[in-house]
Amino acid sequence: MIHIGKNTRSTIVSKGIAAGRSDNTYRGLVRVLAGAEGARNYSQCDSLLIGDKCGAHTVPYIESRTPFSTLEHEATTARISDDQLFLCRQRGLSSEEAVALIVNGFCKEVLQNLPMEFAVEAQKLVGISLEGSVG
């Protein structure tokens, strides 16, 4: 994200999911050029872990050439808990359905901003790529 003009605003929302033995890293540069007074950026990085052998890393880069800018960064990491899984399964969901439901809830903020057709695809894709990740 590069801010060139005065009073420009931007938001970055990143949702990363790591399952099995995978690691997920967010690296993002926000650069504010000298003339971009009053620029504002908000970055939010949320990570979801499935299982206990995966990891999440967040590396935000911030370069500001003007003292008159506001740059915020926030990061969270959460794990799908056994309690959440059990709650879903007690209500009748299979463990795969449960994971898909929880993961879709996690990504919702991003998915709901996608065009309809793509959002549906993305939701299915999340379901497929997580098949067999709990067991």
Partner: protein
């Protein structure tokens, strides 16, 4: 077959510690049983083992429900048989709305029973109806599951799930804990409205107060992993006066 829940000589351990030391319990269809007992007597363990929560080791005995051997089944298969657990501490699922969660649950159960998905409009109508009887505001249905709910709202939401999923046996694991008197009344009214000849309840509680509103047919006292006394609703009233001292010292 519908002969309800039959537990025979159930022994359960967590690690090296034996929590349940031979439980025998039969909950017939259409009957309300209450289990009372001091802290650490194994009440919640019993509720969890019946519903299949991982982390417990069953070292002996059996649990059957309507003729099915429950211990061999996954939690979701038990749910499909009509077992429901109202949680003592309902967990949050961020980003998943109450409506979405319940719709997914209803349709999963229907799929497991070989039925078609419920029409979304019919589902919403059912949901609104049930929410109204529990005095839940409609906006709660659109909120994320248990996220930012007060203690009372969480428990009422559990009752809503029970009402919508219409189980054959509902286990209420200390549903009254952390509730004020009005909320207890609402929860009890929710249960009473659902008492039916084809539905049984297992109400786990510390206090007799809940049983003033949900009058049980049978009351059991659980202490040190065993059922030490069984009686009718009067037993609960007597316990309110005498406490659990006679059971905790005897063992």
């Amino acid at each position: 077959m519908s002969n309800g829940l039959v537990i025979k000589d159930l022994r359960v351990s967590i690690g090296d510690k034996e929590i349940l030391k031979g439980i025998n319990l039969t909950v017939e269809t259409g009957v309300v049983h209450a289990i009372m007992g001091p802290n650490g007597s194994g009440k919640s363990t019993l509720a969890h083992v019946i519903s299949g929560r991982p982390g417990y080791e069953v070292t002996g005995g059996s649990i059957s429900f309507d003729g099915h051997d429950v211990l061999d089944l996954e939690p979701e298969e038990r749910a499909a048989l009509g077992l429901f657990l109202a949680f003592q501490y309902p967990v949050e699922i961020p980003g998943v709305t109450n409506v979405n969660f319940l719709k997914t649950a209803v349709n999963s159960l229907r799929k497991a029973r070989g039925e078609k998905d419920l029409d979304p409009m019919a589902f919403l109508k059912l949901l609104r109806e049930k929410a109204k009887t529990l005095d839940l505001p409609e906006d709660m249905l659109k909120r994320q599951l248990n996220v930012g709910f007060s203690g009372g709202e969480k428990k009422r939401n559990e009752m809503l799930q029970m009402a919508v999923l219409a189980p054959k046996l509902a286990i209420l694991d200390e549903t009254d804990s952390g509730l004020d008197i009005d909320a207890i009344r609402i929860v009890a009214a929710g249960v009473n409205a659902q008492r039916a000849p084809d539905r049984s309840f297992l109400v786990i509680t510390h206090y007799q107060r809940l049983l003033d509103y949900i009058v049980p047919d049978v009351v059991h006292v659980l202490a040190h992993g065993r059922i030490v006394e069984t009686g009718d609703a009067d037993l609960a009233r007597r316990l309110e006066k005498t406490g659990y001292a006679e059971y905790t010292t005897a063992a």
